[in-house]
Structures are given as C-alpha cells and as structure tokens.
C-alpha cells in the first residue's frame, strides 16, 4: 500500500516533467514554445488514460472495474427509479419469504434443543398410533431398568400447577420429571441444583422443585437468594432447589415451562394415581444414548425389551411398540406434520423466489434488448463482451444485495413479531423463532444465488449482438417477436410457478373455510367457558362436587344466562382424554378385544343444552345418576353405530374399561372432539355424579357480552374460594383458536405466497406483453395500414403470449394439484380435486391474464399507423 502510494503520489509531477523535458527538446529543435508544447503532448498521448493505466498497475484491475461497474449500476438504477424499486421490491419479498420460512424451519426443526451433545438425546415414541403419543410410566421404568444402550432414561409429563408464591396463586405450566431427566439433558443449573435420582426414589422422597429461568425472572423477580425458599404447589409445600439455565425451554419446543417437580409425587399433586397403571399413557420419555451406541442398535435393544414387557404383562402391553424419534415436537407425532408442512412451505417460498427471478430475468432480458444499440456501440468502440456482461451482472447483484438488505429487515420484523406472539390458549405456547444472525448469511447467500440467476439471463443476447447488424437494423427491431426467445420460456415457467402458489393458496383457503364452517356438534357462538382445576386448590373429587354444585346454582342466577352447566372438559379443548370401550360380552378386557378408544366427557345435567349439542333421543344425564345407581351414559350417533350397529342405541349396554356394564340413556349428534380435521368418531358423555372430577369447565350460554359473563363467572368462583387458579375464561370461540391455528397459519402463509405469485405473474405478463407490442409497433402499424382486422392484430401481436399464458397455467395447475396433497397434513379437508378450487384457480389465472394483457391489447388496437410511420 505505502509503496504504491509513494510511487503514485509523484506520478502527476513525473508526467509534467516528462512533457516539460520533451517541450524543451522541441524548442531546441527550433519550434515555437506553443508548438513545442502541443507536439510534446501529442507524443505523450492521453495523459488521463496513462494515469489510469498506471494506477491500474497497482490496484487490482478486477477490483477497480468492479467499483466502476457498481458505480455505473447505481447510476443506471437512479436513472430508472421505477425499474429499480420494482426490481428491489419484488426480489426483497421473494428473499424475505425464504428467510422467514427458513428461520422458522431452523428454530423448530433444524436447531436441536440447547443442551450438550443434543444429537445423543432422543425421545421414545410408540409406533402403534392407536396408543397415542404417550407411554404409561411403568413402561418407561422398564426400559430404564432393562436397557443396555442408554446412559439415562427419563419420563416427563406436562402439567399445570397452582403455584402459590409471594402471596398470590397462579396457574403455571411445568413438568413432572422422573429422576434421570436432568441427567438425560446434561445441563448445568443456573442457580442451586437440579432434580436428581434421589428426589424421585419413591413418593414423597423429596419436596424439591426446580424453576425455569424465565419463571425466576418474572415470577420471583430474579431473586438471587431463591434457592431454599419455599412455595406451595397444588397446596403442597415445596422447596426451590435450583434454576435451569437461561436458554433452556424444557424438552418440548412449543412450550415454556415454569417449574419442574419429581414425578414420584404425581399422585399427591394430582390426586390421581397413574404412576403404577399400565392401562393409560401419561408420559413422554427422553433418553440419552451411551457413547458409541447407534440408533439402530438402540432400536434393536428396545425391541427385545418390548418383547420382554409383553411377555410379562400380556393383557396390558399387547400392543406396545417403541422406536426412537427426534425430540422436541412430541416425537414424530407432531414433528412429522410440522416438518412436512414447513418443508412444503419452504418449497413454495423457493418457487416464489424462482418466479421472482424469472420475472426479473425477463425484465433484464428486455432491458438488454432495449439497450442493444448501446451495447452495439460499446462493442464497436472496443469494449469486450465480457466487460458488458459483467456490468449487467453487477447491476443484477447490486439489485439483489439491496433487496437482501430490505428482506433482512422485513424478515427480522416478521420473526420477532412471531416469536413474541402468544396465541390465545390456555397453554404457554411459545414459538422460539427469535431471528438468528445466521439469517443474514442465509439472506446474503440467497441474494447472490438470485442475482446470479437473473443476471445471466441476457448472456446469450450479449454474445450474439453483432455491432454491424444492431446499428444497421436500428436496434434489432426486426428480430423481436419472431423466434421463441428465452424470455418467452421464462414467462411460461414463471406463470407455471405462480399457478402452483395460487393453487396452494386456494386449497388452504378452502380448507380453512371448511374447518370454520364444519359442524362441530356444539355451538361455540354465544357460549362462555370458565375453566379451572380444583385439584390445584387442594380439593378432592368428593369435595369438588360440592363446590361445583354450588357454583352451578349461583351461575344460574346471573342475569342474561340462558343455560348453564359444567363438565370436566369440553370437546376440542387441549386436555381431552380418551378411554377404552368394550362391547357387552367381552370377558377378557385386553386391548385387542376392545371395541374402540373414544374421547369421553364427564358432564352435569343441562350440559347438552348449554353447549348447544342436539340431544336426538332418550334423556339427559341427571344428578340422580350417582354411584349408587347403575352406570349410564349418553353417547353420540357414531358410538351407537360402531357399538350397536344402529343409530338408535337407547337402552343398550356396553362395558367400560373397569368391566362395568353401562346403559345408554341418550344419543347426541356427532361432532368434533380432538381435532377439527378428524373423521367422525365415537364419543361418550358420562354423568359427572358417577365420574366425579376436580377439573371443571363451567359452560354458560348467554347472548350478553361474553367478557362480562366471564368476569361474573370468575367472581363467583372467587367468592366460593379465592385460592382457585384459573386456566382460561372467555368466549368459547376464542378458546378454539388453537384448533384452527394450523389451518389459519397455513392459509395466511399460503395466501401471502399466492397473492405474491399472482402479482408476479401479472407484472411479468404485462411487462412482456407491452414490450412485445412496443417492439413490433412499426410492423403492426404497417399491418393496420394494410387493413388488418382487430382480431388479426391481436393474434399477431399477442397470440404467442396467450399460448404461453394458457400452457404455463395448465402446467402450474397440474403441479399445484400434485403438491397440495402435502397440505392435507395441516388443513382440514384440503383436497385439490375440489371443483371449487379448480374453478377458482382457473378464474383467477384468467382474470390475471386479462388484467395483464388488457393494456397492451388496447395499445395494439389503437395504433394510429399514420402517426407512427411519421415518427419513425
């Protein structure tokens, strides 16, 4: 550097002196001073060029020309702000879509949970989907004791707790974890210690609790002396022994837990004894593979363990089967659809980017064609083709880098908003999608890729430009529109790609519409739910009943209440449970003999009325259906159909999982129970007097303002016992938010892509159509002058455009239909063979086509040959 500077500094002086010396020589030869100076200058040559060339010796020529190109590109873009803004905006949206999707994909799928050696941590998962996603605790314990492949095996389950701290009772979410949980994770505590094997040795072994970093921060004001303090969890006194590290969010990615307690105390905490039951699944299981053990070896070991368990407990474990899966999204149960959906969306985002590139590519190609004369002149005066191409590619990169900067900003805003978004649900749903700096890198990489793609589109044009022809032919007018050009192919590709996004958007929209208007078997409109669990306030099932009856009486007195009742939970809530049902004559109650597994609800009289579920036959449950009288149930039509092979099952009997006979006293309409997207399935409603439950959902039907009703209901509960923590309380429709969330998310995401794709295809078609017309204006004018009809003019000018549009749209629709099968993972009733979807796509594409060619067609039809021929 310094050497270069030193030599270059005196260059001006050197040159001046050189010319001075030459002038002196010339004067000595007898010239006049003026003449001598000019002769010297002539002999020296172009001073500025000499300086530039000398400088280039030192500065890398490549770099200098690059700077020149960038400067030139910026100047060109400033001169065409319309073109520049369109190009940057188009590309920025395309890139932003990609990084946003990539950010979400990275956070939810690619990035492992923040623990040491996360690749060694796996989750156990039942391969038999009928068993759901949970294990019974003894099953996990068996795996823990029998295996030789895991260094630690733990069970964990997500529960809500009533936490009394600093004089207030809050409902918080946390994990009940078995002794080796933190051993599996291998994390170090932020403060104090974590739960250990000894804490979980036997029920009541320890009353130790660990809180999460966010809970420590928000619930305990980051108290540095938190370790050793006591809190009350579900009315039990617990000592806080430690705080988990900051980045740790538990083992399920969507959830942010506040507290961890030993699973051994589950019975005491929940009032239900499930720890020893092999009948029902309640827990997730995570394991850490021993060093050197492969997944295949572990799966093989699991197989032998499962075989042993089945031999030992043939009745309960007959259907047990276990495999390893990636942790974080309830194994593959949720992980598979989430991954499939994200990958599908990623593909769509890629398509949108490609379409944007194709769009910009044809824009660039058209611009290069317009600049054919300029390029020809530059070639003629000695520029190299590479140099011209490089300059155009530089322009492309300048656009794409500016676009990527905009895209980063957009993506950052969107992801931050998404990470801070809390859907209205009763669970602490968390989207840990905080944007990572690595996204900048991704964005930059994408922009370079995009720039390269559309930048080299005009390559062929530049290389075939012949300066003679271009200058003679007045800018290559004769060539335009004759042969199939690259930009035609690009346009067709782009339309096909856009058509895919439009189809996907319509499929999603249709699915959302279906799931919103689907008959759910109850009417969430004008209903208010208030949900709480009395176990969290220390009630038993028996004392809970008294509380619930009192609450019901008081709620019925509220003004504006049309119907009121309660149940343990409601359909489509997150805490639905299922039970096994047997047909009447089953003696051996093993899983393979069961009639079916169905969701069940413990309801108080009047529930069907309050929920808006039509009672089709028979009678409602009653408070006289107590444990002292024979068991009865109300079932839905599907239950009767499957159990009794008739829709009229009143008076018939079935067996519950304890082997008791239950008589059907009423039939209600079918509905949706676990997912909005589910097929029709059986469901049972049992009288809560026979199946008491501490978990309570008060259902109030009223046309009054749901907010007021919910507040009044909460006040009633507080009047009865101020220590009861609320789960959720509000309009029923709001509480279904999480149910329609996937469909909504899909529709919003795909809708945006669809709209964007449509926009791109309109601008792309419009651009190319008007370009074609303007290029052939002279030819068309001559045709008009010779008496061509409107139809002939249009078919000459834009016939090929229409072929391209039609062909592209057809290919796109075919692709879109094939791809939308993926959508059925998330969107209820997403079928691509829906005539509505097909019609909508065709109509949209036609409308887009008409919109985009209308302007150019008008222009072609209104050609005034006299005017044009005069001008050119």
């Amino acid at each position: 550097m310094s050497r270069r500077k030193q030599f270059l500094e005196n260059l001006d002086q050197d040159i001046r002196e050189h010319i001075e010396a030459e002038t002196q020589d010339n004067i000595a030869r007898g010239m006049s001073p003026e003449e001598a100076h000019y002769a010297a200058m002539r002999k020296f040559g172009n001073v500025i060029r000499v300086k530039e060339e000398t400088r280039e010796v030192w500065i890398s020529v490549w770099f200098q020309q690059l700077l020149q190109d960038v400067r030139f590109a910026l100047r060109t873009l400033r001169k065409n702000p319309g073109f520049a803004l369109t190009a940057i905006f188009t590309l920025a949206l395309g890139i932003a879509a990609n990084i946003i999707v990539f950010g979400v994909l990275q956070a939810l799928v690619l990035r492992p949970i923040d623990i040491p050696h996360p690749e060694r941590v796996m989750t156990l998962e039942p391969t038999n989907k009928d068993r759901g996603m949970f294990f019974a605790y003894p099953e996990v314990r068996d795996v823990r004791d029998m295996n030789s492949v895991f260094s630690a095996v733990a069970a964990d389950t997500v529960r809500s707790f009533g936490l009394e701290a600093n004089g207030a009772t809050r409902q918080v979410w946390g994990y009940e974890v078995s002794g080796q949980y933190f051993e599996v994770l291998g994390i170090r505590p932020f403060l104090g210690r974590l739960l250990e094997r000894a804490d979980d040795a036997h029920p009541g072994a320890s009353k130790a609790a660990v809180i999460s970093w966010p809970a420590w921060k928000s619930l305990f004001n980051a108290d540095p002396d938190i370790v050793g303090k006591t809190v009350r969890v579900n009315k039990q006194t617990y000592t806080i022994v430690g705080v988990t590290p900051r980045g740790f969010y538990g083992t399920e990615k969507f959830l942010q837990p506040d507290i961890f307690v030993p699973m051994a105390n589950a019975t005491e905490l929940e009032g239900i004894d499930w720890l020893e039951s092999r009948k029902d699944g309640y827990v997730f299981s995570i394991v850490r593979l021993k060093d050197g053990v492969t997944v295949a070896q572990a799966n093989a070991d699991l197989k032998t363990i499962v075989a042993r368990i089945i031999r030992q407990y043939p009745k309960d474990e007959e259907t047990l089967s276990v495999k390893l899966a990636k942790p974080g999204l309830a194994g593959d149960f949720m992980g598979a659809p989430v991954r499939a959906f994200l990958i599908a969306v990623m593909a769509l985002a890629g398509i949108v980017l490609l379409a944007a590139c194709a769009n910009l590519g044809s824009l660039f190609a058209a611009r290069t064609a317009d600049r054919a004369k300029e390029i020809a002149i530059r070639l003629a005066i000695g520029s190299s083709r590479w140099r011209i191409l490089r300059q155009i590619v530089t322009e492309a990169f300048v656009i794409s880098i500016l676009a990527s900067a905009c895209a980063c900003e957009l993506a950052w805003i969107a992801l931050t908003a998404f990470a801070n978004w809390r859907p209205e649900t009763n669970a602490p749903v968390l989207f840990a999608v905080q944007p990572q700096p690595s996204l900048y890198l991704a964005s930059f990489a994408i922009s370079i890729f995009a720039g390269a793609i559309f930048g080299i589109m005009p390559l062929r044009q530049i290389f075939k430009t012949d300066p003679h022809d271009a200058i003679k032919g007045g800018g290559g007018q004769s060539a335009a529109g004759r042969r199939w050009a690259l930009r035609d192919v690009l346009l067709a590709t782009q339309i096909a790609l856009c058509c895919v996004t439009v189809t996907a958007a319509f499929v999603a929209l249709r699915g959302l519409h279906k799931s919103l208007t689907a008959d759910m078997g109850f009417k969430p409109q004008n209903a208010v739910l208030t949900k709480f669990d009395l176990a969290l306030a220390g009630y038993t099932k028996d004392s809970a009943e008294h509380f619930q009856r009192q609450l019901l009486d008081r709620a019925a007195q509220l003004p504006g209440v049309e119907a009121v009742s309660y149940s343990n939970t409601t359909p489509l809530a997150m805490d639905n449970s299922t039970e096994v049902f047997f047909s009447r004559d089953t003696i051996d109650l093993r899983r393979t003999n069961e009639a079916f597994v169905a969701p069940f609800y413990c309801v108080a009289p009047g529930y069907f009325n309050a929920a808006g579920t039509p009672l089709l036959e028979g009678r409602d449950v009653s408070f006289t259906d107590t444990a002292k009288v024979p068991a009865v149930a109300v079932v839905n039509q599907e239950f009767a159909r499957q159990m009794f092979h008739t829709e009229h099952g009143v008076g018939q009997y079935f067996e519950n999982q304890l082997g008791d006979l239950v008589q059907v006293v009423g039939i209600v309409a079918d509905g949706k129970y676990i997912f909005v997207s589910e097929q029709i399935q059986p469901a049972a409603f049992l009288p809560i007097a026979q199946r008491p439950d501490t978990s309570t959902t008060l259902v109030i039907r009223s046309h009054a303002d749901p907010f007021t009703i919910a507040a009044a209901a909460r006040q009633l509960v507080r009047d009865l016992d101020p220590a009861v923590p609320f789960d959720v309380s509000g309009a029923w429709s709001n509480q279904l938010a999480l149910q329609v969330l996937p469909a909504q998310a899909a529709t919003v995401a795909l809708g945006i892509f669809g709209a964007f794709g449509l926009l791109l295809s309109i601008t792309g078609t419009f651009g190319l159509a008007s370009y074609t017309v303007s290029k052939r204006l002279r030819e068309l004018s001559i045709r008009v002058a010779l008496g061509a009809q409107a139809k002939q003019i249009i078919s000459t000018a834009l016939g090929r455009m229409l072929v391209l549009l039609g062909g592209g749209a057809l290919v796109g629709m075919a692709l879109g239909l094939a791809a939308s099968r993926l959508l059925s993972y998330v969107v209820y009733g997403a079928s691509a063979h829906d005539p509505f979807v097909l019609a909508a796509v065709v109509a949209t594409m036609m409308l887009a086509g008409v919109l985009s060619v209308a302007g150019p067609v008008r222009r072609a039809l209104h050609i005034d040959p006299a005017k044009l021929l005069r001008e050119q």
Binding site: D14, E17, H18, G45, E56
Partner: protein, 120 residues
C-alpha cells in the same frame, strides 16, 4: 476497453516495451524522458513509442521488482526520478531477450517459406 485484436496487440507491445526499457537501463540509471528518447534513438526512430505508455510499463516493472527508483538531478540540474535495473531485473532481461530471440526466429522461419511459396 478494447476489442480482442487490439488487446492482443497491446499485450505484445507491452511485453516488448518492458523488454526495451530493461535493455535501456542496462547502462545505468536513466530518468523517464531519457528512456523514451533512448528507445527512439537506438531504434533509428523506427519505434515511435507513445511516450505516455512508458509510465504504466515503468510502474509494472517496479511492482515486479525488476527496476528500482532513486531521486536525482537530471542533465539540466532538475529534480528527476532515475530508474535503475535491479539484480532480478538483470536476470529477467536475459530471460526476456532469449525468449524474444526465439520468438523472432520462429516467426521469421514461418514467414520466410510462406513468402517464398507466395512468390514462386
């Protein structure tokens, strides 16, 4: 910016000019203007060097370490930069000269028979 043919011609000239400069400096340090003069004079004014092109060439040679610069006074006692061959440059001159001889010889061999054929 140049067409292909022009660039090739310049490259040939550049290489040649470099060689001529090196040759001129064999006899000792010379300043810029004097180099141009010497080349013209020694070639019996056949080679009309565009004097400006000397400077990029000089800087190229400096960058390669074949010549060095020192300040001094010119014949008419003015401050001037004197360019001087380095040891590396001297070696390079030998290499370039033999290269040039080979090239000239080869071209001559190719051209002469062709010429004879054309004449006969």
């Amino acid at each position: 910016m140049s067409t292909k043919e022009q660039r090739e011609r310049i490259e040939l000239l550049q290489g040649t000019l470099d060689l001529l400069i090196l040759r001129t400096l064999v006899r000792g340090a010379v300043h810029g203007h004097a180099i141009a003069k010497a080349i013209e004079f020694n070639s019996d004014e056949v080679l009309q060097v565009e004097q400006g092109s000397l400077y990029p060439a000089l800087h190229r040679l400096i960058k390669r370490g074949w010549i060095s610069v020192e300040e001094g006074a010119s014949e008419n006692n003015r401050r001037a930069k004197f360019y001087k061959l380095t040891a590396k440059g001297r070696r390079q001159l030998a290499v370039e000269t033999s290269k040039w001889d080979k090239l000239a010889g080869a071209i001559a061999r190719i051209l002469r028979p062709a010429k004879q054929e054309g004449e006969s």
